[in-house]
Amino acid sequence: MQLTGAEILIECLLEQQVDTIFGYPGGAVLNIYDALAKYSDRITHYLPSHEQGAAHAADGYARSTGKVGVCVATSGPGACNLVTGIATAYMDSVPLIAITGNVPLSLLGKDSFQEVDIFGITMPITKHNFMVKNVEELAATVRKAFFIAQDGRPGPVLIDIPKDVTAQKAEYVRETPKPIGRHTKNITPEAIENAIRMLKKSERPLVYVGGGAVQADAGAELQEFVRIINAPVVSSLMGLGAYPGTDPYFCGLIGMHGTKTSNLSASKCDLLIAVGARFSDRVVSNPKRFAPNASILHIDIDPAEINKNIKTHGYIIGDVKIALQKLLEAMADEEFRDTSEWLQQVNEWRETYPLTYNGGGLQPQYIVERIYALTDGEALITTEVGQNQIWSAQYYKFSKPRTFISSGGLGTMGFGLGAAIGTQIGNPDKRVINIAGDGSFRMNCNELATAVEYELPIIIVILNNRALGMVKQWQDLFYDRRFSQSIVDRQTDFVKLAEAYGAVGFNLTRKEDVDEVLTQALAARQPVVINCEINPDEKVFPIIPPGGAIDDPIMGVNQ
């Protein structure tokens, strides 16, 4: 059947079972929007306030559902506004398709109105990108883009389409998508045997979980594995939820804001088993002083991660879930060393160095704990970036994959609200809470209008310290309290702001009101903003000073 490029694009989205997209119209995508209107019974389009919101929403949708997120923007400024969102998805390996219009073929390269080389701009922040100059190649390109976005280690793919290509006609024949297989060809018997050898030698094993375990849905395998080798478990920020936060083996975050237990365990273990984790600098801090006594066994889907940041002694390359299954099969006939002394040591650390907070006033950590309690740990939590993000990671015990939606690799302030919108749209039956800082919220609070428009019952909890808290904390600890540009005591009335957008606003100033306000917010069933006037001096602890070893953190203000 002869269809226009715009129709072919949408047919190809339908082939991929896409029923939700986030985007913003403009000149170069007029044909696409014209066709979208025609297909509105099959694809729901969500219009944010800003293209960055569309990208973060598509990202949150993808992270929380495991499906591909799709966003659309017009050429030039529209495409540029996607850039932060695409980079955010890239750093956290999120499958995202970004579709941009561009000026017609004949105007390309002439500095035409709203022309920008988004193909060139996004090359280093996409897994791959395309410019489609021929309508005959459009369908194949879209199919390839979806495959690349999901295959192996996922990532964002951008498709740039000049306007006339969306108007030209071509023959379209429907195809079923190529199945996305789990990567297993490099999970060799030798790799498994070597892993077994390393495991059998170890008396002090430690499992370090990352975002790859979430992507691969390897939770069940992980738990079985941990129970056989009797190892404590630590997690990167991206790994939260892959392993139950309530499990007795779980020690919490590792790295810059890791628990002292996790970090001491990393320093004292004799075998570190990294599962879908990439030894980021936020975990490792100083590579020369990281896990100095350990052999490293690295299980990851991306061969380039092996030996990239940390030299490994053994590895299994492939889908983490299948790799663990194969390993478990091979482990069935093996005996492993008794680790009870090690576990006892770890438990002692856990008792000596629990996560604590004892500042006065309205404590942000307490608020997060109450959110956890009042949602029975079942909420989907998105965060902004800064202290709010780390308190959320530390005090909400994530127990299922895809429940903690946070910008780990790029650390994008302004991510959380857009992500919450996409998360709520992808999970209409779940409660979605965006835990925010006042600075981050202010960056993209325009998306409140979107949440109201689509009647999304998102709760935004602003941990308002009237500061760019994490920056202020660094200046406090490492820059002799020179608070350069980090105290932003703006006169914004967040309750009135919420109301102006058509949302509900609450002010929360006293610890004893936390439960009541949260309960009311949960009952409201519409977008709610809770402005929490927290103690402005509250800090995130533990914290590893720059260049320090991870087992030597600053534990609190009195240290």
Binding site: G120, M123, K127, I148, D302, A304, I306
Partner: protein, 168 residues
């Protein structure tokens, strides 16, 4: 640090050169030269990249290249079992009283004179880099006006080729 010659087969798409070059600059891998051209199959181009790096960086270069969707095959061409060649054009000062000496040097290197002007001549030389360096060193005292290098290229010796070489 060692010199490695890396051969890469890539889809002949627009943008592939900047993708590869971008990868090297973004990740801070220094390259000595890069050369690209079509292969016997017009849909496939071959790049030859020369880099002075240590083993850990080489491993990363290969793996990161391998991740690019447009990259079909990456191989390191080992010095012992490969032929390396580079083409270089050199414009050197040559006036009446020096032309004969310069010509003699060029003859010894089996290089070719491709252009002669009253005050200079242009020399074409092909070979591996040590040979080219030796010629340049000898021409230097006469006054080199311009040098342009095509970048090193290479192939496996014998019946082996890039596709039969095992993945690293």
């Amino acid at each position: 640090m060692k010199r490695y010659v890396i051969s890469v087969l890539v889809d002949n798409h627009s943008g592939v050169l900047s993708r590869v070059a971008g990868l090297f600059s973004r990740r801070g891998y220094n390259i000595d030269s890069i050369s690209v051209g079509e292969t016997q199959d017009p849909t496939v181009s071959r790049m030859t990249i020369v880099a002075h790096v240590d083993d850990a960086i080489l491993e990363q270069i290969i793996k990161q290249l391998d991740k690019l969707v447009d990259v079909l095959k990456v191989a390191v061409l080992p010095a012992e079992t490969s032929v390396y060649r580079e083409l270089v054009l050199i414009k050197v000062k040559a006036e009446d009283h020096t032309r004969a000496t310069v010509s003699d040097i060029i003859k010894v290197f089996r290089a070719k004179i491709v252009d002669i002007a009253p005050k200079s001549m242009t020399v074409e030389i092909t070979g591996d880099q040590p040979k080219i360096k030796a010629l340049i060193d000898l021409l230097e005292p006469h006054g080199i006006l311009e040098v342009v290098r095509a970048g090193l290229i290479g192939l496996h010796r014998g019946d082996q080729n890039i596709l039969t070489q095992e993945d690293v």
